[in-house]
Each structure stands twice: as C-alpha cells, then as structure tokens.
Subunit: 342 residues, 2 copies
DNA sequence: AGCACCGGGACAAAAAACGTCCAACTAAGC
DNA sequence: GCTTAGTTGGACGTTTTTTGTCCCGGTGCT
C-alpha cells in the first residue's frame, strides 16, 4: 500500500493533499450530521468559495446529499469513509507527524519517509531520494553547498539528478577527512554529488581531528586557508546526524575525550560537534571546515538521518535550534515525538 | 491494490487520467532515449504547450534530465517506470479495454469495474455504484427513465443518491411483472430508484407474458394504455442483460417456446427480447411495455451486466447495435473482447 | 559552415478559480 | 403565525492559472 502511494506521489505530488482535504471535509460532514456551507468552512479552515467548489464535487460524486436545509453524508459517502480509514491512517500519520515536529522545533520543512532505515535498506534509499529532492528544490544558481560524510549522505548523493540551476553550483566537504572508508568521506560525497548534479566541486585534503599546533600550522597554508574560506562561505549545508558514541569510536577519538563525552551525556553528533540531550554543544575541538557560527549564518541547514536508533540523536540536534529542514524516516520521527511527550 | 485505486478514484476522479498521461510521456521519453519537446508532443498527441508544462513537472520531480540537446530519462525516472509497471498494467488494462469495446461497437461510453460479479458480491456492488453514477450524469431535468428488473438493477437502485436534476424525474418499469421475487421486479426497482433519487414513479401492474387475446384486451383498458404510452415516451432506459436460457426458465416460458429458442441459438435476453449470437432478435412475443422500436428511438440506452458467464450474452446484445452505454465488469469485458478475436 | 532541431523566455488570449454579495428558501423557537 | 438564524445556489467582477504562439540563442550532426 505504501508502495503504491509512494509511486503515485511522484507522478501526482499533491495527491495526498487533495485526498486529505476532501477526506477532512467529508468526515466533518459525517460527524456533523446536517451542516451548512459556512459553518463547515469555518470548522475545516477554508474560505467559503473553495469549500463550495469541494462540496459541488462531493455532490457530483454522490458522496453527500445536499438539500435547502444543509448537507449530509450519503450512503456511498459513509461507505467510502469506512473504506478510506486504513488509507487515511497511513496517509495522515506521516503528514501529521511532519507538521508536529516542524512546528515544535520551528523548522521550515520536515519530510518523513515511511519505514525504518535501521531495518530496511529500501527506506534508506527513500531517505536519500527525499533528501536529493529537497536539495534540488532549495538550491539557487551558482551556490556553494557544503556536505558531510556518512552512509545516508552517500545515498543522497546517489539519488541526485541534474537540474539546470545546479549546473553552476559548487559542492564542498563541510569538514576534513575522517577515519572512514573512502565512499563515505565528505570529500567523496561532494565529488559524487557534483558529478550527479552536473556541478563542480572542491576538496579539502586534511584530516579532521588535529592537535592545536597542527591546526594552527595548517591554517597558515594559503591554499588550505583559501579553500576553507570558500567552504565557510557556503549558504547551504546538507549534513547527516549520528549517535555520539558511535561517531566518537568511528572517528578514533582518544579514550580520554571519549570518556569525557560519555560523562557529559553526549547523545548526538553533527558536522563534528557533539550535543547533549538538551541540544548543548559539548565538545568543541579546533575544527577544520565549518564552525557552528558558520552554520548559524546559513540560509538552509538540511539535516538528513533516519532509523529508530537515531531518533534521540536527531531530537538533540533539533533542540540546538539551527536546523531549517529535516529529512527523516517514520521510525526516527516517532522516537522524536515520543521524547517530546516524556 | 485495486481497492486503493478504487477508493482514490472517488476522491480524485481524474487521478488515473493524469497518471496515464504522465506515464505515457515518461515512457515515451525512455524509449526515445534523447528526444525534443516538439517531436515528443507529436508522438504522444499533445500540444506543445501542455507537453511543456508536463515536461517542466517531470523535470521538477527529477524524473527526467533536460539539456539543450533534448531530454532523457533520469535514473529516478527509470526506477519509477519500473515500479510503476504493475500499477499501470492494472490501470491501463481496463481503460484500454473500455476503449476497445467502445470503438468496436460504436458506443458512447463503456465503464468497466474490476473483478467478476459471478465470484465476488463486492464486484456486483461496484457495478451498481458505477451504473448509478453514469445514470446520475446522464439524466436531464424532468425526464422519464425506464428500468428493467434483475439483481444487477437492484444494485444500481440501491446505490442511487439524490441529485438535483433528478428531483423531477419519473422512474417507470420498462416491462410488466415477471415470475421473479418482488425485490427484483422492474416495478420494485423503479420505485426504489425514485425514492433513492428523490424522484417520482409510476407502476405497471400487468404480467409480462401474455397470449395474443389477453394482450389485446388489456391494451383496451385506458389506464393501462395511458401508462404504457408514458413508458414508451421515455428517453432513457437502463436495463440488465441476461443469459437467454436462464431468463426463459425464470420467466416460466412454456416448453415449446423454450425449445424453439434453444434451436435458434438464443444467447442473450434484454428487456424481454431474445438475441442470438449475431445480435438478431429471435423471439418477439406480444409485449407490454417497451418495444424494440422504442429502444431505437431512445437518447440513452444504458446496459448494465457483469460476470464472466454473461460475457457472451453482453456481446450479443451489443452486436444488435442499439446500446449507447455499457457498464460491465472486468471478467465480462474480457469475454467480450475474446469473442471479437475468435 | 550549414542546417535542423533543441530548450526556454515572453506575452496575449482564454479559461478556471476565487471572493463577495444577494435572493429565495427552511427549520425551529417563541 | 411570525421572527430569526441558518441554508443553498445564482451572479459577477477580479485574480490566478493554463494555453497557444513566436522567437532567440544554442547544440550537435553532416
């Protein structure tokens, strides 16, 4: 069922919206018994005229009966509502979830794909597709887009497709190299994205975690300083979100720091920063690439992560309050709202 | 899957059309490899401008890539087409089937609901719903609508809903009473329809099968003559289609006539007439109610019947060539086209 | 270099959607 | 029986969207 809706959404993006609207109206009419146009318009939050068009439609379909004294649901209408129920539950679950998360954290947009990335690889692909799609809609011309590494971001890169405004864009890594496999490096992903989207890219050939002295000396190098300035001038950043401890291990953070993170209750990691449960930044190492102040200045901060296990981490990062767009999956989204309630 | 599409069609009637259109375009682009807008417009049969809007949409969705040299399908697009295939097969199967039957028999409209009425009661309900819907669209104001009996027609009556133009309509039985149960009598159905649709009705209290003398004497009666004239003035008739032998038995036709029908290869029955394989009328008993010449004069002749077993009968009646609209189910429709091929 | 085809910008005409008001009608309360 | 608050459906000007039509600067093939 999800599969079908998913396919249809690609050919008819406002299908769910229209269905949602009409279902809401029909449902309202049913619970109201006998109701008038204006009253109904109020309660579903539509202007009288557009509601009238919808009512005409429902009448045409024989789903409602309308008399001079008001309108009521017909037998067919009641039947349809019943059959619609399971569909709507799926349909609305996600859109409602999106809206709930969006408004609570004050985001611009939330996109939830069905499933759980932890369990199903297909969901992870969907996440990538959704991420690519949102990026495609947000980019302007000749923009610089900073990206991080990770398997989710790799999926996003894979699903990018050429779009005219992207032709002049630069893709750059948000940070230096990590101890991960090549395919998941920010550098690799930036270049993949550029190739897929038909844009250009620049790389940052430095390790991400450095001591203070090494950091200072590297920043002296004019080439490196130049590319870093370029990166920091990006107006769009697309990043993954990870679990703090998992990321610390993967990054080969030294034992003392790891222990310190654990003590402070580190929960999430995003673009090199660690966050606790309340969204506070815990660990601030001298960083090559984007700094948190750069993030705050961005036009579009797009976070992409999914899987039930990442739910808490995502919530922490959102709490920090710099995100604009979140792309996640159903399992993670439920975790996020569950944390809101507790 | 059918279930979902079916529900959606009630809330978004042009969903299938839009999906069909976009699928066709996308598919064309795929098989063409690299193709231009104008060339494509020709081959899918759309004006350049509307195709352009569609292309913009597909580009927006990232399903195609468009360069100065033309457009080609993207990875996502190809993927979508693959996933779309089973859906389209269902979607198009029926619409294609409809068009095939429509054009072959020169009908105005053919509506096919999925399933087999012989097997599933749900399909029969769908048939009724579709029949009611087509009737609702066809009726004008203050019209007379003649209806026959049968279980399918009962289903149509059940699914009728009030519509403003129907308020002034008269529902009348097309023929006299049969030896069937009360619920399936044309009289009963006419009255049910009138109640459901908010119209009025008149009844014909006469047995349908009579000897010549009895017929003549009945026609002398002014009340009966008046109502029969009224019935014959109808401009819309909605009728079921039955298998000849089944109907003969149900009507308690006398053994000799039954044998004669069998000898002549009677296949179908509709509004009291029997048809052979080639659509010729076999048996013409003196009839109370609509005569075949009245049928030919009608504005809208709507035949409604479904079930694999009725396929051949439907084809026979269609062949006679007086039908305007056919409402049937998938199983019957396939039987009809199979007979076209053989 | 020539040519046939390409995408996309531009713009007026046509169509659809929308906001707004009003007349005729209905049900209920008093 | 009358008032009143509520209803539908018609009408109409305005705004928005869609559509038809040209044309311009490119691209790729020959």
């Amino acid at each position: 069922m999800r599969e079908i809706l998913d396919i249809q959404k690609q050919l008819l993006p406002d299908l769910v919206d229209t269905m949602k609207k009409r279902y809401t109206i029909l449902h309202h009419i049913m619970v109201s018994g006998l109701v008038g146009r204006r009253t109904l318009a109020m309660s579903v939050g539509a202007t009288e005229r557009v509601l009238r068009a919808e009512v005409d439609f429902l009448k045409e379909q024989g789903l409602i009966e309308v008399e001079a004294s008001g309108m009521r649901i017909s037998v067919s209408g009641r039947e349809l509502l019943e059959r619609l129920e399971p569909l709507v539950k799926d349909l609305f679950g996600l859109t409602e979830l999106e809206e709930r998360i969006r408004s609570h954290f004050g985001l611009k947009q939330v996109i939830i794909v069905p499933g759980d990335s932890d369990v199903s690889p297909h969901t992870k692909k969907e996440l990538g597709r959704a991420g690519a799609s949102v990026l495609r809609k947000l980019v302007g011309e000749d923009e610089t887009i900073a990206v991080t590494g990770g398997s989710t971001m790799a999926e996003v890169a894979y699903h990018l497709t050429p779009a005219t405004p992207m032709k002049g864009c630069w893709f750059v890594p948000a940070r230096g190299g990590l101890g991960e496999s090549v395919e998941l490096q920010a550098n690799t992903i930036a270049s993949t994205m550029a190739k897929k989207a038909g844009g250009r890219y620049r790389l940052l050939h430095v390790p991400d975690h450095l001591g203070e002295e090494a950091y200072q000396s590297l920043m002296q190098d004019s080439h490196i300083a130049e590319i870093i300035a370029f990166i920091r001038g990006a107006r769009i950043v697309v990043h993954g979100i990870g679990e703090a401890m998992v990321m610390a291990r993967r990054r080969k953070v030294d034992p003392e720091t790891t222990e310190s993170l654990r003590r402070d209750g580190a929960l999430a990691e995003a673009f090199g920063y660690y966050f606790d449960r309340d969204g506070n930044i815990l660990h601030k190492m001298p960083t090559i690439g984007l700094r948190i102040e750069d993030i705050h200045r961005m036009d579009h901060v797009i976070g992409i992560a999914g899987g039930k296990s990442k739910g808490e981490s995502i919530a922490s990062v959102l709490k920090h309050g710099h995100e604009d767009v979140l792309v996640t999956d159903e399992a993670a989204a439920w975790e996020v709202v569950n944390r809101l309630l507790s």
